[in-house]
Amino acid sequence: MTADVFPGTGLFQRAAAAFADCVPVDPADEGLFGPGSVTWRLYADLSAPVSGLRSLLLQALHPLAMAGVDQHSQWRDDPGARYASTAAYVLTTTYGDKAAARAAATRVRKIHEHVRGTDPVTGKPYAASDPALLIWVHAALVDSGLAAADRYGIALSDADKDRHVAEMTAVAEIIGVPPVPFADGGAPASVAELDAYFAAVRPDLATSRSTEDTATYLLGMPDIEPELADVWRVLAAAAVTSLPEWARAMYQFGAGGPAPDSVPPSREEVRQVLGILDAVYLGEPGVLEARQRLTLRMRGAEQRRADQARAGQTGAEQAR
């Protein structure tokens, strides 16, 4: 998915166009996760925008990942486009059928082949296809989904959290993470492995000018529609609040937002703002229909599960 696919002025228009486009009308199969997955349930949650923002803030803390983005993409010229293409990738691998997910991954892997160089901050060489960097980006995404839902969204059981992390290894593997256990260099497959991963990777992290630029852009959101600026401020505070404490310390953020003396916004306030954002999103062409397509498939999966459970029960009774 290239940036040009979703031209437009506002961030929301582009994100919405990506969503409407990437949720298939007539998928060949259930894709990498399917409508019964925890991943679909989590991604349909109101907290998703906080997760996205937190995930970008976290990802920017790895100098080698940041160097790749900085030296090889035009994000500074057109950050909205860069964001839309990332969103389109995530949406396609989440909701598309397997062929669409694989095609999207192949495209990104091709781009990654050329994304290599030397990081000016650490002097280290980097390559976007390096599994270590791919796992970093992946882990930040997975961790952010769970952290944002924890604070501002649905309550997942511990078992469902583990299931989500395990489900997500599929999306790590199609982009080039070796399909092996975490201990052998694969993606984390449980919450415990995710936590262990972050503990281990922290010495590699650092902030730089690029990190600061990224955060300044994401939190200040200069391109946003003026009517949404107030709303964005709450969203930014929520994303910062949900970061791990060590990440906030690296950025020198306050407890509840970018300002040192900031107080965390309440769950209620954040959810109200997320509701507004969601309504604005719904107002974009195709979003409601795409969402209905997903709801119908998720309800279908739920129904099938209930039917199977009933059939199983009947079977058990007959066996007795």
């Binding site: 109200q272 507004i276 107002g283």
Partner: protein, 435 residues
């Protein structure tokens, strides 16, 4: 009453119900259900709200509030900003009806028994969408055909909580209605929306109007069935009649009669009951030949004090009866519509304002056209006029702007001709012409 007779009477009522246009009501129901090919209808069923959690996901976290604000803002501002209009219509489309089980659950929670026990007959499929709820047909245990408005479970609590976030509502209003003085709107809208959440307010309003118009030859308000109405459920007589769109295909003579009834209803209730139904919306009328109109939906009613009505009367009196521009200006200033000592010649004030009184300044037949209603709406939001800097709409009168922006649009669509001045003279309490 013996059992067989009851059954017969129920059967008769059901037939009458069907014959009296219950089905038509369903066909012409608001677009939520009507937009509806078979496929679309099935989609709606598949997406139905099945649990209170579904309701909260769909209408909680500001979305219900946003819908109400959008509706109300569209009542007081001729043109919502296009993005706001888009959001509003997507939000409306995003709310499917409740599943039959969920709606039945509300009845059970309110009356302690399922619909089949509370009513003689209960139609599990809604016939119309309503504000934060939906309308079902039913027949009471003593055989009366009724419309039952059922509120979404949990919606009142979530909207009430969301209404507490005044800062967010302020920025929403700025988005939705940039032309308005937001501070004047906020409290009024919060209060009105808060009232709408408790259906007992609406039932009280409807009782007030039903009593007042009891026996009126053409205006009719369905009676509330007290024992089947609660904070979450309103049961009223099932009304019959043609919807607005169908009425527009009637002869002009019939349309004129219907328009006269709407006009009389609006101003008689304002000047005599001192209550205004702030929702002169085409969907809230049912028409029968001979100018008979049934008025539905009293969720948004504003009651006025004598002190609030007096300046309105003085303005009419000064402009239309006594031709006294200075008195007109003083009345405007007294009500807070115009700042005192505004450096605008009184002649200009009158010239600007007289458009709103155009149809009642002189006797004789006048036609309300869509052109007239658009000119009124444009003049109303004309912030380039020299008057704009000194004019404002005080809080109590916010909802009255629906006369300029809603009622005239309805009458304009009907292309209605009448001697509005003479009708008004019958209504104006200070003239008391013979009816």
């Amino acid at each position: 009453m013996s059992e067989p007779r009851l059954r017969v009477s129920r059967g008769l009522t059901a037939m009458r119900l069907a014959a009296r246009g219950g089905a038509r009501y369903a066909v012409n129901a608001p677009r939520l259900f009507a937009a509806a090919g078979e496929h679309r209808q099935r989609l709606r069923d598949d997406l139905a709200l099945r649990t209170a959690q579904d309701v909260a996901d769909t209408l909680g976290t500001m979305k219900g509030v946003l819908m109400k604000i959008g509706q109300l803002a569209s009542y007081v501002d001729a043109g919502l900003a296009p993005p706001a209009r888009r959001v509003l219509s997507a939000l409306q489309d995003s709310v499917p009806p409740m599943s039959p089980e969920l709606a039945a659950g509300v009845i059970e929670a309110e009356f302690g028994a399922p619909p089949a026990a509370v009513f003689g007959e209960w139609d599990p499929l809604p016939i119309a969408a309503a504000s934060i709820g939906q309308v079902h047909r039913a027949i009471t245990r003593d055989g009366q055909a009724v419309a039952v408005k059922v509120q979404y479970p949990g919606i009142a609590e979530t909207i009430a909580a969301d209404l507490g976030n005044v800062a967010l509502i302020r920025s929403l209003l700025k988005m939705a209605a940039p032309a308005q003085d937001v501070e004047e709107l906020i409290e009024e809208l919060r209060e009105r929306i808060g009232e709408e959440l408790d259906y007992r307010h609406e039932a009280d309003n409807q009782r007030l109007f039903a009593d007042y118009f009891d026996g009126h030859p053409t205006a009719r308000v369905p009676r509330i069935v007290d024992e089947l109405s609660t904070a979450r459920v309103i049961t009223s007589e099932l009304a019959a009649g043609a919807r607005f769109g169908e009425m527009l295909s009637w002869s002009q003579e019939e349309r004129d009669l219907a328009a006269e009834t709407i006009y009389r209803f609006t101003f008689r209730s304002l000047y005599e009951m001192r209550a205004f139904n702030g929702d002169p919306h085409p969907g809230n009328y049912l028409f029968e030949p001979g100018g008979r109109v049934t008025f539905l939906d009293f969720g948004l009613v504003k009651r006025f004090s004598d002190d609030e009505i007096r300046p309105l009367i003085e303005m009419v009196d000064a402009l239309c009866l006594n031709d006294d521009p200075e008195a007109f200006r003083r009345a405007m200033e007294g009500a807070g519509f115009l700042k005192p000592d505004a450096p605008i010649p009184t002649a200009d004030v009158v010239a600007h304002m007289s458009l709103f009184y155009d149809t009642i300044r002189d006797r004789g037949p006048r036609t309300m056209t869509s052109e007239y209603s658009s000119v009124v709406a444009r003049r109303y939001v004309d912030f380039k006029s020299p008057l704009a800097a000194y004019a404002k709409i005080p809080r109590s009168y916010v909802i009255l702007q629906r006369i300029n922006l809603g009622l005239f649009a309805v009458l304009g669509q009907m292309n209605a001709t009448a001697d509005w001045r003479s009708i008004s003279e019958e209504i104006w309490p200070f003239v008391l012409a013979p009816p």
